[in-house]
Symmetry: C2
Subunit: 503 residues, 2 copies
């Protein structure tokens, strides 16, 4: 393909994406394909001869698009948002267009340097303590990683490196191998699966401690776990605190956890993957209180800050522990600029890196701080709007509401909520998923798409109402799809009464 | 930014990329900026108000572009290539445009399904044994990862998982912890730094064994290392074989290594990051002989197969070891399609994934197998063309020539080659880097850009000649920039004589 054909193909693709967003609301949010659908539609082998881009685009429309789940539909309310914005899409394309690999400063100076400046911009926006920022004298700094999963694992490795070094320097009677075999990590039972995975990857058992009734991990719980493990001869090494848990967007108490960690010389890592974006608004920065006690901090602009996946922002107070955990030099990587700019390859798993700072720069400049704050505040107010519907309807129970996430349930037995989720899922007009809160089944309703507006929240609520009516009006005994248990008729009667009242 | 502005911005960016490639040859391959250049050109904080995309594009041209190293300039001959093609750039943009996260089948069925089919297409193209492919009954399969670094680490974790399981099932007297502390990994001293790093990441010491005089790791060397380690009570667990080493593109003997590994129940992983692309040409598949003895295989379409970074293709014979090493289930990840399609989140480090299969599909279809084979063969023939210049000139010594990489040196003391590299680097007309071969300094000359043609190879050779003349004509004693040693005048005289003859 020559550059002239690229001009045509690229512009047709730009129009395709623009059209897709212009009409995304008309598409059912969930695809209706069955597993294996695509294998039947594609040949068994790659084509011998090149095909035209027009043919490829036609297939994108006809066979790929039917298998896409529309994360940016205003009716998508599952998981947490994944970011999307037009400036970020162009940034991603230009990064691919330049096509360099930032494996060292000299391999493309702008790659490293823009990342340094962007991580400073972002850190200042969050009001992070200065020691986390890339300043010429300090040992702290920020780096863009691919995901919070990567970050949690990388911080674990750095914590391990630091603990081994500290203990050996303090003349521990243990060998390095013996120390490593005794290290333990901690987080709350509300943590994302990636936190537990980081323990598996890094060969450090991850204790998932019980959160309190609000979903927060508390200092005394952590202190107790440390004491119990130390009594067994184990060594507490690494704690992952959540600012915005996956199930309910709960915030651990950083000050409590940080004090316990600091006292015991344990690395505290803060995972604010989703909610961290809200800290660009001064009114939410109080959730970060105590962050100065942490060694590392992470949030994902690729979740809520309109920068397309992947762009996970990580800061550390002392980068030397990363570099020491990762540094493996070779002659082909030598260059004479060492020490003057960070060599980010020693801060991460892979050697190569894309120009992810570019899309971050595009988003920060084209939206401006003002535009990004407006986005966060608008989405939180939409969640509040939904919360009001839940609270006003007696048949429903609000479990939690935090940032852009509302967790709620039908009052009564869990089976009713399971049935509600089932019916809503079968109707396929909105996409929501199940959650748990304090041992009860609930539905997680998240404001995800940047296109979602008040009318879409109303539409979603009407879907829940219609599904509820459907359950009630069935009159017959209802069998729960998931557990197979029968739903009690007394509860149905109660709901029917509520339904009458709310009409 | 609304969709109309995106149409304008996106199309302007397409034109910018096309213009960049149309004129890339006119740019000096290396930038002339100094570390910290960008910090001086950018504000200290993110802008409060949004700016226009036109302003941002102007800054891309005026402050980013001067800090770019032009990897796709025909004068770029450093490292190994990183892939670039117009279809892949559009694929990357459309993946960002759809902006889904393939964290499970239901999260966007086309993401998983296209990847399954593409990994089959690619595996067939390489003529990989069928047990590596995604077939409905087998336990093997292919997956796209971000980099060879990730793959080497992931395969190490799977090897660890398998070894622990095998030993425990065989009633080993050791505990899981004791087994893990005794595991050892192996590769050759010619391996990429990422191989050693995988040992650091996975807490398994990586023994770098001496390659033979051709840069290959041999079976008897591996067998001896196994025996010595076993005598110390250690447990050989994981071997990384190279098909195309980073220093000289040497090929380990897979059959020899595989037989040793199979006898000892050790996981053999094959890293063909760069050279693997050549296996799409039947005449190079003989290098893979013995691959059926391996447990996992990896090559990077993002190096040489025209698919932009990141796209690292990995196949395993038995995916259950990956899944068991990584699987951490949560209610929000549950979906009812389990088992019918691979859940790739259990095959990798992160939970989220971009739609990387899309750019691979675009490249395979728009180039066709024919087009990709032509690209590989053309680049190898350009390396051969360069090799001829080296061989014909008596002052030079050919060290190795394999695929698109030629390693050569000035005859005589290492300092001459160091000086040559220094002068060529100072002239800044081409970009090459240093290498080592059999204890001697050499220069690595790689065919990288898909735009490089015979005239560019001639240009590069003339650069080496001009630099050589410059060294000789200086007459004075030359001090080596790197080591500080004086270069012997006898060698200079010898070179001067050669120079006279070659005129």
């Amino acid at each position: 393909m020559d550059s002239q054909q690229f001009r045509e193909f690229g512009k047709a693709a730009v129009d395709y994406i623009a059209d897709y967003f212009d009409n995304i609301k008309d598409r059912p949010v969930l695809p209706s394909v069955k597993p294996g659908y695509l294998e039947d539609l594609l040949p068994d082998e790659a084509p011998e001869h090149g095909e035209s881009w027009q043919d490829v685009m036609q297939d994108v429309d006809q066979i790929i698009m039917p298998g896409i789940t529309h994360w940016h539909s205003p009716n998508f309310h599952a998981y947490y948002p994944t970011a999307h914005s037009f400036p970020a899409v162009v940034g991603e394309m230009m990064s691919a267009g330049f096509g360099c690999i930032g494996l060292s400063w000299v391999a493309s100076p702008a790659y490293t340097e823009l990342e340094v400046v962007m991580m400073n911009w972002l850190g200042k926006l969050l009001n992070l303590p200065e020691e986390f920022l890339n300043c010429s004298e300090g040992v702290g700094g920020g780096v863009i990683q691919g995901s919070a999963s990567e970050v949690t694992f990388i911080a674990l490795l750095a914590a391990k490196e630091k603990m081994v070094k500290d203990l050996l320097e303090a003349n521990s009677p243990l060998t390095e191998g013996e120390i490593k075999a005794k290290l333990v990590a901690y987080s709350s039972d509300q943590s994302n699966s990636s936190v537990e995975k980081s323990g598996l990857l890094g060969s450090m058992p991850m204790s998932l401690l019980k959160a309190d009734k609000d979903g927060k991990l508390r200092g005394d719980t952590l202190q107790k776990a440390f004491q119990e493990d130390k009594a067994k001869g184990l060594i507490p090494c690494y704690v992952v605190a959540n600012l915005g848990t996956t199930p309910t967007c709960a915030f651990d108490d950083l000050t409590e956890l940080g004090e316990v960690c600091n006292k015991e010389n344990v690395w505290l890592h803060v995972d604010a993957a989703y909610a961290g974006t809200a800290f660009i608004c001064p009114e939410y920065q109080h959730y970060m209180k105590g962050v100065e006690l942490a060694e590392s901090f992470n949030f994902n602009p690729h979740k809520w800050m309109l920068v397309n996946f992947d762009c996970s922002a990580m800061w550390v107070k002392n980068a030397k522990y990363l570099v020491e955990a990762f540094n493996v030099e070779r002659i082909y990587l030598k260059d004479k600029h060492k020490g003057l700019a960070p060599e980010y390859r020693h801060w991460q798993i892979s050697l190569g890196r894309r120009f992810r700072a570019l899309k971050l720069w595009f988003v920060l400049r084209i939206y401006g701080v003002e535009g990004l704050r407006k986005h966060v505040r608008d989405q939180i107010s939409l969640a509040k709007y939904f919360e009001e519907f839940v609270v006003k309807d007696e048949r429903f129970e609000l479990c939690t509401s935090s940032m852009g996430l509302v967790c709620f349930r039908l009052k009564g037995d869990d089976h009713l909520t399971e049935k509600l989720l089932h019916v809503v899922s079968e109707r396929r007009n909105i996409f929501v998923i199940a959650g748990h809160f304090n041992g009860k089944e609930c539905i997680r309703f998240a404001i995800c798409s940047r296109l979602t507006q008040r009318e879409d929240v109303e539409y979603a609520w009407k879907e829940f109402l219609a599904a509820t009516e459907q359950i009630v009006s069935s009159k017959a005994k209802i069998t729960c799809e998931v557990t197979g248990k029968k739903i009690l008729s007394a509860e149905l009667t109660k709901m029917a009464n509520h339904t009458e009242k709310s009409k």
